[in-house]
Symmetry: C2
Subunit: 471 residues, 2 copies
């Protein structure tokens, strides 16, 4: 189910050796310089988001699996080293270092499918500084994107109120990796499956799809098209009924269902992709029900998003499932997540960045989550890693996932991640389950007194030290 | 320079065999059905955009190289076939067909780097219908994304008015393939290079980058950091001067330039990443000039886009180059391009889709572009493929690029594509070079009288036929 690695190689693979060079050049020049200056002591970096993107009430963690796969497999191939040498920038010593490179660090992370809030770290990485530096670009690339899609998809899933949502986005996603991981991240966030066959193969996600309008138009008439398809795929009969006239299409679906019932062929569903979906779906439902086909499902699609789905349901649309493409696969209304990766501790102790609007929290951390008697999330406490739980029932969100460059366990089955996410969505405070940003409520993320005190002290110290350094 | 294929395999490759299954499931079910019903005659599909996205005045064609690479190499591996078989949907006959699959069709396309306008086809593909159907998802995925990024990047390049623009987007791009192709598409549209080392390796794009704030903070003081870096990379000294105090940083850059000049080390530039960039850059310019360092360049970065760059230059910013990340790499303000792929001709003749707002233009086509005496584009004529040029000097934009599944030439060197694009941007009508959508001008894309007549006739015929088919 949840293998993140395609057996046939190529772009389908989550993190082959070839992506070692998916790195901003400055990571490598800095790393070379650190090596020359002996600045390769252990350092801890936090990957976190400073604030929620517009129109988001929470984030759903995703991307960890790609990261662990990458860290464990990261090598620099002879071709990569040859290319770097051709840039005539790097020292022999550094190229030799890369030739032998293995990631040897430790990673703590919020498991995929957990809900997180800024500025909680999604991931904490402790490694020799150069290793930690070199992996920054890839980690941000993957976690920013996948968390963004999972967070968007969770909204669509919430809006669908228990109805199935299927990812229809491959043709609008940003390339091959995006299409794969949009399918994975949206499934993880509660979608039922994807139209993307490669994602089905690579991740074991259920795949969905039957026909396009062009198929219906390839036959002499609609009834012939439906009949051909139902006979060809008797176990997967979902008929697209809006090519010519949706209500007439529904009657044709009824006709085919009756005609082929004696042969044991059951029409599973119909899809409507255009027009006034609320009204049409109700009328189609009535046509199907009156024909005794109450079990035939209705799938709606066509430039949908969470707002349109909410409105459709409010308007009484008869929908069992929604196909959602562009807006979910690109997180159209917030298409980039601003996650950052910052030094919080090194050989010299706690570290902090002092910059307007860009301050960081020092030290290795733990996120503690407290829930109410109803099981709903109440508040989080962000504490230093070695502090005891702030209250006995609080749950720790950051868990160790890699030690000495080795994963601490096999990949989590993706359907388990999905179940965790669905549970989390149920446990969200009610105002956060709505699509609009609540005006009178923000989820409380508190700092532990110890972390708060440390931060205040360091801000003072660093302000003084910076004044001196800049001089 | 322009190899689109990484030698070390993996996700860096443009179109390995593994992506054959990057296809919406319905393409395969339809294909299986077409095979069973003998519906595999030659068909022609147009890939086009119905209308410009918000805040875009033109499109820059990109993605063709990925498509040709994909079409030439498309195979279904034993693992892919095994997966498809496991779905228990497909006929033996169809799985056998896929096992032997080779793309055998012809392709005409607008070369990368050309400017196009809706509804001009970016690509026209003629192949046995099943082949044409199966490749739809990948073609749309790649051309939609890459054309979208090239079109956004061209705006940034125009706003920079001759100053260099560097892609800084990998950490916010939608995955690995997106980071690679964002670098390629933005370079193709006139950017000077990228921070993405993998894109440098795969496409031969110039790579840029030196240091982050964390580097400066890793040393005892700013001067020590600058000194270390300049000594380590004497040929690539660009100093980030805003970690503590930008003007003081500029003076430190001057100090280092003087200190290391006797050793032949030249400070090439300084980068400012925060604050009031217009004011700071002017003051930094003055500090550098007064120190006799008029040749030290100033690079500005920090959440830039075309609007901010235009404003900076209007406010007199002293900038030689801009680093642009998130907004360019994700086309943030229009993060999906709605390209579609529609049947225009098949064994039965011209085809048309009749649907409110979704009508297509029948037949194989040619785009003719007419320019004025000043070399600027005047208007385009969209004609049937076999029509003569509407005027003697008009230039044909669709050129044959693949015949019988084989490319008609080697990949174009990417720097030549870039030069073509830069020339095209110069030749744009002046209103289209502005960032705002002109309220009183739209680029004229006319239909030839023959195409217009055919379209009108077919709309009538199809409306009648559909009424019959739906009944």
């Amino acid at each position: 189910m949840a293998s993140s690695r395609s057996s046939d190689g190529g772009e389908g693979r989550a993190a082959p050796e070839g992506v070692g060079l998916l790195v901003d050049l400055y990571e490598l020049t800095m790393a070379d310089s650190y090596l020359r200056h002996g600045l390769n002591q252990e350092a801890t970096f936090d990957l976190f988001v400073r604030e929620l993107p517009p129109r988001r009430n929470f984030l759903v963690a995703a991307g960890l699996e790609s990261v662990l796969d990458f860290l464990e497999g990261l090598r620099f191939s002879p071709e990569a080293l040859e290319y770097l040498e051709s840039l005539k920038l790097f020292s022999r010593e550094f190229l030799g270092y890369l030739e032998e490179f293995r990631f040897t660090g430790d990673v703590w992370a919020v498991p995929e499918g957990e809900v997180v809030f800024p500025p909680e770290p999604l991931l904490e990485l402790r490694a020799p500084r150069i290793e930690a530096q070199i992996v920054e670009t890839f980690l941000l690339n993957q976690i920013n994107f996948q968390t963004m899609i999972a967070s968007k998809a969770a909204r669509v899933v919430l809006a669908a109120r228990g109805r199935a949502v299927v990812d229809f986005s491959p043709r609008r996603d940003h390339g091959v990796d995006a299409a794969l991981k949009a399918a994975r991240s949206s499934y993880l966030a509660g979608c039922a499956g994807t139209s993307n066959v490669l994602a089905g193969q690579v991740y074991g996600i259920p795949v969905y799809g039957t026909m396009a309008h062009s198929y219906v138009m390839s036959f002499e008439d609609e009834l012939s098209a439906f009949r051909a398809f139902a006979r060809d795929f008797p176990q997967n009969v979902i008929l697209l009924i809006d090519t010519y006239d949706t209500l007439q299409g529904a009657r044709h679906a009824v006709e085919i269902a009756r005609e082929l019932a004696p042969q044991g062929v059951r029409v599973k569903g119909v899809r409507i992709d255009s027009g006034d979906l609320a009204r049409l779906s109700r009328e189609v439902r009535r046509i199907l029900d009156e024909a005794g086909l109450a079990d035939v499902q209705i799938l709606l699609s066509g430039d949908l998003n969470e707002y349109k789905i909410e409105r459709l349901l409010r308007e009484g649309a008869a929908a069992d499932a929604f196909g959602v493409g562009t807006e979910m696969g690109t997180s159209y209304d917030a298409p980039a997540l601003g996650g950052v990766y910052k030094l919080v501790e090194d050989a010299r102790g706690y570290r902090i960045k002092l910059s307007a609007g860009k301050a960081t929290l020092p030290g290795r951390k733990q996120i503690w989550r407290a829930c109410g008697d109803d099981g709903r999330m109440c508040h989080d406490v962000l504490a230093l890693a070695d502090e005891p739980p702030p209250e006995p029932a609080a749950r720790a969100l950051l868990v160790p996932v890699m030690r000495g460059g080795k994963r601490l366990g096999p990949p989590e089955p993706l359907h388990e991640v999905r179940e965790r996410c669905l549970k989390n969505l149920e446990r969200l405070p009610e105002p956060l389950q709505r699509l609009e940003r609540p005006s009178d409520y923000a989820y409380p993320v508190r700092l532990s007194p110890k972390l708060e005190e440390l931060r205040a002290r360091m801000l003072r110290e660093v302000a003084q030290a910076n004044a001196k350094r800049a001089s």
